[in-house]
Each structure stands twice: as C-alpha cells, then as structure tokens.
Amino acid sequence: MTIKEKQDELIDTFSLFDEWTDKYEHIIQMGKDLPLIDARYKTDDRLIRGCQSRVWLHADWKDGKLYFTADSDAVITKGLVSMVVDVLSGQTPAAIAAADIYFIDAIGLRNHLSLTRSNGLLSMLKQIKAYALAYQAKEKQ
C-alpha cells in the first residue's frame, strides 16, 4: 500500500467511531501493535524529546526501504507513534521525504500536532523525514 492508501485506511477506520472512548481505545490498542524498538537502541540519542512523554525511534534500511521501530513511556503517545510508523514503515526514502501526512488532522487529532501538546509527534515526523532524506542522499552516492 502507498502512504496515501495507508492514511485513507486509517481515516476510514476512525470514521466508524462515534464516541471518544472508542477512538481512544483504538489508539491505545494500536500502541500495543507498535513494532517495538530493540532494547539496545533505546538510547538517549534515539530519544525524540517532547515535553511530557518520551519517544524512542529507530530506522532500519532493507532493500531500498525504511522500516521503523519505536516506543514511548505514555500509552496514548505510543498509539499515535504506532499509527505514524504504520503509515510510513516499508516505504522508500523518496516516498517518505515527499509524503504529505494528513491523517492526523483528518481523524480529529490535530491538537496532537500543536506545540502545546508537546508529545513529540511533530518532532517525530521531522525525525522520520530527516532519516528519509539522509538515506536518499546515501542512495545517490
């Protein structure tokens, strides 16, 4: 699936939830499905600093594609991270670098991209794009 298809799929799923509780229970569940970062990569240099919850992110390079693993100490953040990883993992650096990430807004979680939320989601997206650009440059060499 393309990044766009993955996002549209998530948007479809979330459109089924009328109650905030259902939405958040799904986010929490997605957190449990997050491909967990290997303990040896859970180091400070892979820490994406948000003000309140911590997120660790690691990128693996395989057959021209990037695969992400991650973790967070907050359950809801972990769910959000899981969604981002689900959307972007297994894509080429070029596709990731060019990706327009619109699903967060579309499923009514835009406040998670605001500076006040400080859960590192914005910094995480930036970091993923930075990985993509770095591998893109590497490929060209």
């Binding site: 905030w20 509780t21 958040y24 229970e25 929490i28 003000c51 309140q52 919850s53 911590r54 100490d73 907050a74 359950v75 809801i76 953040t77 859960n119």
Partner: protein, 416 residues
Amino acid sequence: MTGSDLHTALSPLDIEKIRLDFPILQTRVHGKPLVYFDNAATTQKPIEVIACLDKYYTEYNSNVHRGVHYLSQRATEAYELSRKKLAAYIHASHDHELIFTKGTTNAINLVSNSFGRAFLTAGDEVMISAMEHHSNIVPWQLICEEKGASLKVVPINDKGELDMEAFDQLLTPKVKIVAITYVSNSLGTVNPISTIVQKAHAFGIPVLVDGAQAVQHMPINVQVLDIDFLAFSAHKMYGPTGIGVLYGKEKWLNQMPPFEGGGDMIKTVTFSKTTFNELPFKFEAGTPDISGAIALGAAVDYINGIGIENIAQAEEQLVGYAYERLAAIDGLRFIGEAAHRAGAISFLVKDIHPYDMGELLDQQGIAVRTGHHCTQPLMDLFGIPGTVRASFAFYNTMAEVDQLVAGIEKAAKMLA
C-alpha cells in the same frame, strides 16, 4: 455579586452566583461542560476585569506619567490608584514599595539582578528550597555564576515539607538573601514564612517570597510577616496576563541599582551622566502595561468584594473534600502530603503516565495540568517524570470534584 451580599463564608448558592461572574466557566469542551482545575497555571477572569480592559481602551487609552492632557492624566490616575489598591491588599507601608513588573518571573529577575549587583560578591551564598519553581531557581543561578557566589538548597522531607533543621544549618552569615516560595505550585505545601523570616532576620538576611501561588488563596500582610520582597502575578489572581508586582521594602529598593534603563525611570539624562527617578519609577523603565495594571486593580476589587478570608475558607473546604475523594481512588498516590497546604493537589494513579491521564481527562472536559510543572529538580527528588495536578479556585464546586474523580476512574479503566 458584591461584598455586601456576603457576610459569612461562601455557601454553595453563593458559589453558583459567583460562577456567573466568570463567562468562560460556561464554555463546553468536547461537548461537555468545562471543569477547570488548572488554576495554579492561570485563573479565569471575572467580567469586571474583562470590562475594565475594554473600558480603558475604549475611553481613556493614553500614556502615563507623560502628558499634561486629559486622557494621560486619567490613565495616570487609574494606574496609580491600582498601585494603591495592591499596596492595601498586601498591607504595604508605602505605595511606592510596589513595582509593576511583567509577572513573578520578571519580579524575581529584577531582585536577583539588582540586589545581586549591589550585595553579592564571590564566596557569598543565596538560599532557596528544593520545591522552587524554575523562576525562583534559574535567576539566582545566573547571578551566582556571574558573581562567584553559590546556591544553597534547603531540602524537603518525603511529605513535601521544608526540612527546617537543614534550614537552620544552612543559614549562616555567608547567606546574603533567602528566596523561597510561600506555596509550592506542584505540591501545594504552605511554607512557614513567618518563622523563615524571623530566623533569617536574626542574621540580618533579607527574604524574598515567591507569592505567585499564595496571594490568591490567603490574606497576606507583608508588615506582619516582615517580608523584604514579595513577587506575584496578576493572571493567577483573576487579573490579566503580562503584569505582576514586586513588593520591596523601601530600605532595600533604595539601595538597589535600576534593573533596566529607559524612559520613566530617569530624573535627568545627559550623555555623561544620568540620575535616576525615585521609587517606584526607578524600577519601571519604559511604557508599562497600563491596561494590565489597571485591570489588576479591578481584580483586587473583585477579590475584596468577596473577601479573601471567605475565599480562603471556601477553598480550604474544597481542597479538603478533593483530597478525601481522591484518596479513595484505587491506586492513587499523592505527591506532596504536607500538613499545611493550599491550592494544588498533585498525584499519580498506578503506573499511568501523567500525559495519558491528562489527555483522557481533557476528552471529558476536565482541564488539569500534567508534567513537571516547571519544577524539574523537585520531580527528580521524587523520582518521577511528572504528576497530574488539579488546582483549585473558589469558583470550583464539590460537584466538579466528583466529576474529576469519576473522570480519573474512567481514564484509569481505559488505560488498564
């Protein structure tokens, strides 16, 4: 409602009337009625304060202390009347002992810079406590580093109370100033300021009190307490943001050099020498937040109309009720269990991250603060990344506390 309605403590009916004075309390969040328990971050504003800002800009906006014209005189009178109201509110001896600042942080920076330049030298010490807000830590670190002085930190016990034995040991003639909070913003602890001042004064050491979490909760008499400096913010006492107060005893303020240079703080300026204006203007460089200062006066009027003693009593009941109800929640533990407390209650539930709890409470229309509350060293002491903090004002109700408790239980269930 006005003070004449209130001769005794606030009844639930009074609180319902008071709530109508705060338009924002009618707001709905995510389709639910707002339950605002983030009062330690900022309080909401009564209509009188909002109307005061509007009236200033509509009817008499003008610069102060400058013009001879009608509007300028009217603005100046209102600005100075506000200073008088604040002086009376904290029982200062003189109006000119009150300096308008941008807020508590700015007031503490004024003292750390100005007092520090005049009185700190290498080898001296500044005493603070382990429960200070970053705004009463960092300004002192900066000046200590500049002067070669050092910071001494009074530890706390596991209940979140000051260790007064350690205080006695650390208090030596090397200490040039004690800077301490009256009420902890993250633990709710009320510190024994009177005792602290007496002990410090025995060595001739002045005391700066961070009153940001105190002035809105209890009556304060700077003369009775004999406080040398008191810093506080308007926006935490029902006034607007961007304005606050430094109270300083005349004898100290007169010995301190200006903090910032500019207009209004000078007497005469030539390129070779400038002489400075007298108090309070020496410390108020540039055009101040005129509307903010006047609206702060309106906030003081509002508080006086209800009576700070009535507010203190109502809040004591409310915080006591909240403490009792929260204590009954399965797996909840308090961070900070001081015997004497006000304003805020910090807690954690099981191993739930404060951010997760805050997020799910928000979805239920309940506003709390989560995180380290700008007291990182304190969180480190407790070995936690942060807490969930519910902080109260007299306009909050017992029914809202019940909603908070139900909200926490619901969130805990979802996160289990």
